[in-house]
Homo-oligomer: 212 residues x 2
């Protein structure tokens, strides 16, 4: 542009063409989106799985809980793994009426006690089963549930059974790495969060209010 010295009309014409092309492209995108929206008419509770090794799975679940609460929906969270720190989301969401159940032990590599962990998982799962039978709850978040299955603290069949027999309109979010194939199979939406890079690996300290 800087090499030429176009007349004002020339510039306007070129800009107008660009704008028209953009409009045509966007119209096509909109048509595609509209057609898909028209097709998507089934209403049911969604089973959303957020898995993979990247950062952002639990926070995404908590974001959806915040969204639900913002819409006046009733939500509950079961945290199957909890560190030693206080979780910032909990403060805000519990204040907004979200029911929290936190498993009694910390990270499993902190406790290193299989029996204790299994008993704690069992207790948290009992609370979960009650939530998955309660029609008044619109959204249940099962944070880090995947590890309970991969560590064999919970049998996958029990998990599948409770998820499949929940109220029809109830949404469920399952987070955690390496989600069991059987849970992915019955899920409606599955996102895999892939780490491209992570500050921690570059020697940057995890920080309260951001990382936890």
């Amino acid at each position: 542009m800087s090499e030429t010295n176009p007349t004002e009309t020339g510039v306007n014409k070129s800009a107008a063409t660009k704008a028209e092309r953009h409009k045509a492209r966007q119209q096509k995108v909109k048509q595609g989106v509209d057609a898909k929206i028209a097709q998507a008419q089934e209403e049911k509770g969604i089973l959303l799985v957020l898995t993979g090794n990247g950062k952002g799975k639990s926070t995404s679940g908590f974001g959806t809980v915040a969204r639900a609460v913002g819409h006046g929906k009733k939500a509950a969270v079961v945290q199957f793994i909890k560190g030693n720190w206080e979780c910032g989301e909990r403060t805000l969401l519990e204040g907004a009426g979200v029911e929290f159940h936190v498993m009694g032990t910390g990270f499993t590599w902190e406790t290193q006690d299989r029996d204790k962990d299994t008993a704690a998982a069992e207790k948290a799962w009992s609370a979960t089963e009650k939530l998955l039978q309660d029609e008044s709850i619109d959204l249940v978040m099962l944070d880090e549930l995947t590890y309970m299955v991969s560590y064999h603290y919970l049998e996958v069949d029990r998990v599948i059974n409770a998820l499949q027999n929940r109220p029809k309109m109830q949404h469920v979010i399952v987070t955690g790495r390496a989600c069991h194939r059987a849970i992915i199979d019955i899920a409606d939406t599955v996102s895999e969060v892939v780490p491209v890079k992570h500050a921690f690996e570059a020697g940057i300290k995890a920080q309260p209010g951001f990382d936890y």
Copy 2:
């Protein structure tokens, strides 16, 4: 297990060995994690990019905002693309003191007007630049910023410049598909959310309080 009839002692012994093996494994994991934590001592604001085509990028960002607010941090959100619906997260987070700036137009394929969109992006970017110069703000979320760059509404150099010159301890989250390589290069943590499957594609309607 059902085919054999082990003595009680036998069962206990086997369970004990299993528990010991588990403990040894977990101790090794813990050692690895502890060593990494010891190494990660640099403290600075993180630039987190959540990109990819999967569901959960914006909600993850909003979850992090909820976390920050729960820790008493000050956060601000700029939404570069906004649909026609009310966003549930906004209700909750704005109520908790989070500053929101929402770009004046809807999805770009709804407006189909390049000039109007560019002007709106410019305005939203002005608000962003102020936030990225304000040390009192701990976390800035730039929701769907990536599209402003890929649609050439904003020059990538301006974005990079503002991100690099922000206060040292300020965290920034950038969300949206197809993040520009130059932003990924300067980011500390990057997660790509990959769609494994999506309810919408299976004909299930997007639902308020869950999908938006």
